[in-house]
């Protein structure tokens, strides 16, 4: 009985993976027998759909194919920490289009928000990126596949340790992590082409602005634990001038159509 279900599920996953491979990008890392591949393919499809619907707000109808490809390979379920769920519900939760609690009042962000924030950073293979608030470790894992080096700082020791274990188990070698106060950034690791501040911030620490290279970008999600209300993008131009850009992750016009 159990064997029958297993075979059935593997078969279904196999078909979906094949379809996904054909339709999408055909990432090499994707193993035929990865039980999560189908769920990840669905997740990518949902992200693409959100990106299209929010295009007018974010200014981009498609997210970078490299980011989609990377998110297709990163095992999000491995970053859910000490979750007591059994594998199947865990996987469904991990790849669902929603944030998931990881303990300590923190969440692993919704896949679309992770994708959008990564896209706003405009990562390049030679970039060095700083992350303030490692949390689950998932954002760093996604960045790891896109840039040269990720430096990440977490305040809560337990979270930092769990994330570090997940990175080493999954073989993310270009992530440097430490536990501590993110306010002063990580001068020794920088300067940075991109900075993600996922920790709640009442203001943007000046040392972070200083450690951003000219032409660099910083992304800050604003909102509560379960809802990202807006994203703040800080850009430093080649002359060192700083501007911010505020984006809603959603296409919403505050005025009724046709109004003054």
């Amino acid at each position: 009985m159990t064997g029958g279900i297993m075979t059935n599920r593997t078969l279904k996953a196999g078909v979906l993976v094949t379809v996904a491979l054909g339709l999408c990008w055909g990432p090499q890392a994707l193993a035929q027998d990865d039980p999560f591949a189908a769920l990840r393919a669905d997740m990518i499809e949902t992200i693409a759909e959100h990106a299209r619907s929010a295009a007018s707000a974010t200014g981009r109808a498609h997210l970078s194919p490299q980011i989609m490809e990377t998110m297709h390979t990163v095992p999000r379920h491995a970053f859910l920490g000490r979750n007591t769920l059994s594998p199947r519900p865990l996987a469904q939760l991990a790849y669902a289009d929603r944030p998931v609690p990881i303990g300590h009042g923190q969440t692993i962000s919704q896949p679309f928000i992770v994708a959008l924030m990564t896209d706003l950073l405009a990562p390049e293979p030679d970039h060095v990126v700083l992350e303030i608030g490692s949390g689950s470790g998932y954002q760093a894992a996604v960045l790891s596949g896109l840039v040269d080096k990720v430096c990440t700082i977490e305040i809560i020791p337990e979270l930092g340790k769990t994330a570090a274990k997940a990175w080493s188990r999954q073989g993310y070698a270009n992530i440097e992590a430490r536990i501590g106060d993110g306010y002063y950034g990580w001068e020794a690791c920088g300067p940075f082409d991109g900075i993600v501040v996922t920790a709640a911030a009442g203001h943007i620490p000046p040392p972070l602005v200083r450690q951003l290279k000219p032409g660099g970008r910083m992304v800050i999600p604003v909102g509560g634990a379960f809802v990202t209300q807006q994203l703040v993008l800080v850009e430093k131009d080649s002359a060192g001038q700083v501007t911010t850009r505020q984006l809603l992750p959603v296409a919403f016009v505050p005025l009724v159509r046709g109004a003054p």
Partner: protein, 831 residues
């Protein structure tokens, strides 16, 4: 079943104790829910109480014969059960993984909510059973029982507020439970048999209450509240705690990772904020207490927030800070060379923390000769004061998370109303400024509502060009709006431009500003703030207000819901977009309350109709179930409408919401209790008077019930018209005098409001005794619907309409009461 002639004192005392305990428990739960979850969950305590009361009415109606044969035993068991389940329910609820924030993503969370309800309904059901049982048994002398019930409830609410002033909520839980056990002991005196067993049960109940470890009753705060998150940081710890009826204040020291709280700080700021202690109110915040040595240079960062703007337009100003909190805005005033600062703070606990507990840390900020601290409601302080200032500063007090979730949506605020703005403007020295700072929300809401309020306030003061007196700047997460009592000169606009440019802030609105000046540093998809403010100062203002997807019409004293931006027609769009951030745009206050109303109505319908359906054969009575239903529905709704509207009317006069709730609630319940005790005598006197003086006509036809209800209906309208005048004259009375006057004002109205219920119930008892518990249940259900409905009505139409509706409902009750009386009278004669 024969009905005993009088109510034994032991039963009256037991009813008093249980009434006291049930209302105290409800007030306590409101406090505890606000600590454990969020402010808007306090409403849940009301609907949970409803469920318990309604279920009890149904239960007693169905089990009447069986349970009345065991009256004393049933009372004892229920009172004991109230005490034990009140404690156990709370202890168990702390282990439920209920997370309201996750409901959007995981609807199964609603099952935990259901369990939460179930746990807390039990004690209310048991407590209500005790009261309902007594009503049933002593229905022919209902006036006395009802009087004791009302006085007990009133003192329960008052007692709880007093207890919260000295004890922490979790410590009071045991006291409330102990009252239940005491009520059980009182009722046990009436037992004929099994006294020994009952004595053992009561002693065991008391022992259980005493030995239950306090740690089981400690409220477990949601891990997503700011305090829980702050305490996750290594080394962070609570170093002081103060509990009051207003809030639970926790002071956190976080040496490893300092707070550095400075909302809206410019990206160009280079000064790190000094060490801070964080004050968290009910786990939300923090409000910082900043370490201050007297060295103003260390406060340089305070010059880099949007709220610093007015100081660049004034020199050596006298400043009024409305909502001083931990003192950040007082420091900002001193940093900018303020000559004197009046700091008004509502919560005396916060002031004591800065003034006493952490005096040295705060550099004796509130003890400086140039800083005067006033513990008062901001609006009441300004209204009562005759002083004038160069700057009235209303800083950012609520945390972004609270503002973002819209949890304040339905908390009344008299600080941001149209009338408040008019008062502030009248207290400015020539050339002075009013400055208000809010979080920047996208799409913009509160900042635009403030702008619209300022415009209208200026217009109402006869200013023909109000647009020349307002300016608005925005940073990346705060907005500050300036209103001047005179035109803002072009030179001053240049100062505003320079201030903004040097800090990478944007001009949203300033007299004479060009469109290309907007949206330069903090770039939005569209220059929303500039477009909206331009629309508001233009000719199509009304069209814009109507077409905007959030409600940004100014709040008024009659409709004091500044934080409510909800519009039904936008809900569908938000929900459709919820998985991509749309959920963050819904202002949850109103929908949550509306859902509570729907749920209360559905539950009430079930609880009221179920017993009638279950009994199958119709309840035969000469008074008619329909009339009983209408009569007690009207009373339930109207009593709460009056009570809630009066609490609102008295907030400004008494200067503090807690005083208003305590004085109005206790006043209404206690004086209504007296009226209810007098009701039978009033009825007899009225009948006798009419028999001798009035032979026929409407006055005679009305009868005592109609008289009482009619008097209340008229009284309510008179009060509505006269109160503002009385308040205006009585401002100078001082705190104690105002409380005494308030009670004197409430007394006559409440006295007569206490009469229709017992008079009606007495009549029901005479003609359809089975319906007594049912009628009580109807009244209970509609009291709760009335409490929620009053707020919903006020959000839409203002409190004036709530009062008018109450008068209408009392009049309707009077008419229905008369008809019932005529029918009942005939039937009684036939018998």
């Amino acid at each position: 079943m024969t009905q005993p002639k009088r109510v034994p004192p032991s039963i009256l005392s037991a009813v008093f104790a249980i009434s006291f305990a049930v209302l105290a428990y409800q007030v306590l739960l409101m406090r505890l829910f606000a600590i454990v979850q969020w402010h808007h969950f306090a409403y849940m305590a009301i609907s949970i109480a409803l469920l318990g009361f309604g279920a009890s009415g149904t239960f007693l109606f169905l089990a009447r014969a069986w349970i009345q044969r065991r009256f004393a035993a049933a009372f004892v068991v229920n009172a004991l059960f109230f005490g034990i389940s009140g404690l156990a329910g709370f202890a168990l609820a702390q282990h439920l993984p209920f997370n309201p924030l996750e409901v959007v993503w995981r609807p199964t969370q609603l099952l935990y909510l259901l369990a939460f309800y179930a746990l807390f309904t039990v004690p209310f059901f048991a407590g209500a059973n005790c009261i309902g049982l007594t009503f049933q048994r002593y229905a022919h002398v209902i006036g006395r029982v009802y009087a004791v019930n009302l006085v007990g409830s009133g003192l329960g609410a008052l007692g709880m507020i007093a207890a919260l002033m000295v004890l922490a909520p979790q410590d009071i839980l045991k006291g409330v439970a102990a009252l239940g056990v005491a009520a059980a002991a009182g009722a046990a005196l009436r037992l004929a048999r099994h006294r020994g067993w009952v004595a053992v049960a009561v002693v065991m109940g008391a022992a259980l209450v005493l030995v239950l470890p306090p740690s089981w009753l400690a409220p477990v705060m949601s891990p997503y509240k700011s305090l829980s998150m702050a305490l996750n940081v290594p080394g962070a710890q609570v170093i002081a705690e103060r509990s009051s009826p207003l809030s639970l204040l926790s002071v956190v020291q976080s040496p490893t990772v300092p707070f550095r709280h400075a909302p809206g700080l410019s990206l160009l700021n280079q000064t790190e904020p000094p060490a801070q202690l964080g004050i968290f109110a009910d786990g939300g915040g923090p409000m910082p207490i900043t370490a201050f040595s007297g060295d103003l240079d260390a406060l340089g960062y305070l010059g880099y927030t949007t709220s610093a703007l007015p100081y660049h337009l004034l020199s050596d100003p006298e400043v009024l800070v409305l909502g001083a909190g931990g003192g950040a805005d007082v420091l900002q005033a001193l940093y900018h060379g303020a000559h004197a600062v009046d700091a008004v703070e509502l919560d005396p606990g916060v002031v004591r923390l800065v003034q006493d507990t952490h005096r040295t840390f705060a550099g004796d900020l509130y003890g400086r000769p140039d800083v005067r601290v006033h513990v008062a409601d901001a609006r009441a302080f300004v209204t009562a004061s005759s002083a004038t200032w160069d700057l009235i500063q209303i800083p950012l007090l609520d945390s972004f998370a609270a503002g973002a979730a819209g949890v304040h949506g339905l908390s009344e605020s008299y600080v941001y109303t149209l009338e408040a703005f008019e008062t502030y403007l009248s207290r400015l020295k020539p050339g002075g400024y009013l400055a208000v700072t809010r979080w920047l929300k996208l799409p913009p809401r509160d900042s635009l509502k403030l702008f619209a309020t300022a415009l209208r306030a200026l217009t109402r003061q006869g200013v023909t060009e109000p647009a020349g007196r307002i300016a608005m700047v925005r940073g990346w997460n705060t907005v500050t709006i300036l209103v001047r009592a005179a035109d803002i000169a072009p030179a001053d606009v240049d100062v505003i431009r320079a201030f903004a440019a040097r800090r990478a802030f944007d001009l949203a609105y300033a007299p004479g500003m060009k469109p290309e000046e907007a949206n330069r540093f903090n770039i939005l998809q569209e220059p929303y703030f500039h477009q909206a403010t331009q629309a508001l100062v233009g000719a199509k203002r009304e069209r814009f207000l109507n077409a905007y997807k959030f409600d940004i019409r100014p709040a008024t004293d009659d409709r004091p819901y500044f934080f409510d931006f909800f519009r039904w027609r936008s809900l569908g769009e938000f929900l459709a977009l919820r998985s991509v951030g749309g959920a963050g745009m819904i202002e949850w206050g109103y929908p949550v309350l509306f859902a509570t109303l729907v749920q209360a109505t559905v539950l009430s319908a079930a609880l009221i109709l179920l017993p009638l359906w279950l009994r199958r054969r119709p309840v035969r009575s000469s008074v008619g179930t329909g009339r009983v239903m209408v009569y007690f529905t009207c009373l339930g709704l109207a009593f709460m409408f009056v009570e809630i509207a009066f609490i609102q009317r008295f907030i400004l006069f008494l200067g503090h919401p807690v005083y208003a709730v305590a004085v109005v609630l206790a006043g209404f319940l206690v004086f209504a209790g007296m009226g209810s005790a007098i009701a039978p005598r009033f009825a007899a006197w009225a009948e006798a008077w009419m028999a001798t003086r009035v032979k026929r006509g409407p006055v005679r036809a009305l009868g005592p019930t109609g008289w009482a209800a009619g008097l209340v209906a008229c009284g309510v309208l008179v009060y509505q018209a006269a109160l503002p005048g009385v308040f205006a004259v009585a401002w100078d009375l001082g705190g104690g005098g105002r409380i005494a006057l308030s009670l004197a004002l409430i007394a006559p109205l409440a006295f007569f409001m206490g009469m229709p219920f017992p008079l009606g119930l007495g009549r029901v008892n005479a003609h359809a005794p089975r319906l007594v518990a049912w009628a009580w249940g109807v009244n209970g259900c509609f009291s709760v619907i009335g409490a929620i409905g009053a707020t919903i009505l006020a959000v839409h139409f203002g409190f004036g309409l709530v009062i008018a509706a109450a008068a209408l409902l009392y009049a309707l009750a009077g008419v229905v009461g008369v008809t019932a009386r005529a029918g009942g009278g005939e039937s009684a004669n036939k018998r």
